[in-house]
Amino acid sequence: VTATPSRERSDTGLVHEAMPYRDDREFLEGTVGYVRAALASSRPVLVELPAGRNELVRGALGEDAPRVRFGDMAEHGRNPARIIPAVLHDFAAAHPGRRAVVVAEPLWASRSAVEYEVCIEHEALVNLAFADKELSILCPYNLTDLPAQALADLGRTHPALRERGTSRLSMGYTDPHTVLDTIAALQPETPANAERLDYSFVAEARHAVKEWGTHAGLPAARLTDLLIAVSEVSGNSVAHAGAAESILFWQEAGSLVFEIRDGGHIRDLLAGRLPPPDEQESGRGLLMVNLLCDLVQIKTGPSGTALGHRDSDVDGPAGHRAIAGRAAGPAPPRPNARLRPRPWSPSPRPETSSVRP
């Protein structure tokens, strides 16, 4: 990928740029200029930003704002693994034969360390998922709010950086496979007091999760989501691994956490990120998990897979649930995946049903 000031006119394939900014003025100059250039070329434009930032851009665009589609990244991208299928792919697919232009800010200050990790993973995967697509993505990053390593991480995951309206090659850009390997090597922590079920059939895992979730006061709709997610993860393991599996469950800081471990190895890095062709019967399980959950993290390797699932509570400071999975093969267990479902309240009291779905 080359970076020139006139790239909007001449680009082919994916143009994936990060835009570091330090204040609202820099943010608006960068994003509004980018959007106006795309509108001038009659390109479809989607702006997906976290809370409040859409309104800033809308106000600055003035009369041009209605020509732009806005989406709430805090909702659509709560699970960063959902951004590729539900935001980027959907918008690109809705405009076949045209270059779609997206401004997407996936990371903000209140993201947890695990969410940060999944965001960086997401950014690396964008380069693989859309390598040959006519798609331009600008990713603003608020350096004032983010951890110090963010600048290096966005340089690693974006082929180009855009500052003051000019795009230049990112010197730190790293092969996405290398970035993903580095993240996969990070081991999630599992508390020693986690409940554990070793199982052979998906139904055993599902029934245990139903019992745990019901006991923890999970509302019925959320329980349905959770049972689907757990069944996809353990079903995926059954189909691809055929080895012993375990599911672990614990509560932490108002969260339910589920972790599934198996001996399989998910080789498709984009599993769960892109929908398969309509006529294909299989291949939607992990996509469903990503759509259902607030955080999905898959850790996979030759010695097994772990899938984690976490549920955050928007009405409280510390509501989380996670599902994770790990291997129980001959090699030391190694996690493959983590997920976090849509918000719920962990309180077992009836009034929890007032929590928004």
């Binding site: 409940e195 554990r196 079920l197 070793d198 199982y199 052979s200 059939f201 998906v202 139904a203 055993e204 895992a205 599902r206 245990a208 019925a220 709709a221 349905t224 989501d225 049972l227 689907i228 069944s231 996809e232 353990s234 079903g235 995926n236 059954v238 189909a239 929908p275 006529e279 019967e281 299989s282 939607r284 399980g285 996509l287 469903m288 759509l291 259902l292």
Partner: protein, 117 residues
């Protein structure tokens, strides 16, 4: 905690409907049982005309099995028939909502409500 390590023999039961072309299913459809479900589905929906799936006894369906139902509905629709789904489990409704709602080429004919599974 130890799992039972065995799959109950009633994990999934499939019978032909008496009142119309179709199947009456009971149990749970997931990675361990879906092969049986999808074979029965493919054999039944092979014939033309309306086909019914009575899912009142089904407490769970996974994404793969719901996809099979949706694809059967599409095939039937193209041939001028309908797939009528009776009393689907919440999991079918949820998976359908997330993957196919708004797909104008697709209609699932759902009859019958039911309470919590």
């Amino acid at each position: 905690m130890e799992g039972t390590g065995t799959m109950p023999t009633d994990a999934l039961t499939i019978a032909s409907l008496r009142d119309s072309v179709g199947l009456k299913i009971a149990g749970e459809v997931d990675a361990d049982t879906r092969e049986q479900f999808m074979q029965a589905l493919a054999q039944t929906v092979g014939s033309n005309g309306d086909t019914a799936l009575d899912l009142g006894g089904v407490s769970f369906m996974d994404t793969h099995s719901v996809t099979a139902v949706v694809q059967c509905a599409k095939r039937l629709h193209e041939e001028g028939g309908r797939l009528i789904v009776r009393q689907p489990p919440d999991s079918l409704r949820r998976i359908f909502e997330l993957l196919w709602e708004g797909d104008r080429g697709l209609r699932l004919y759902v009859s019958g409500e039911r309470g919590e599974p």
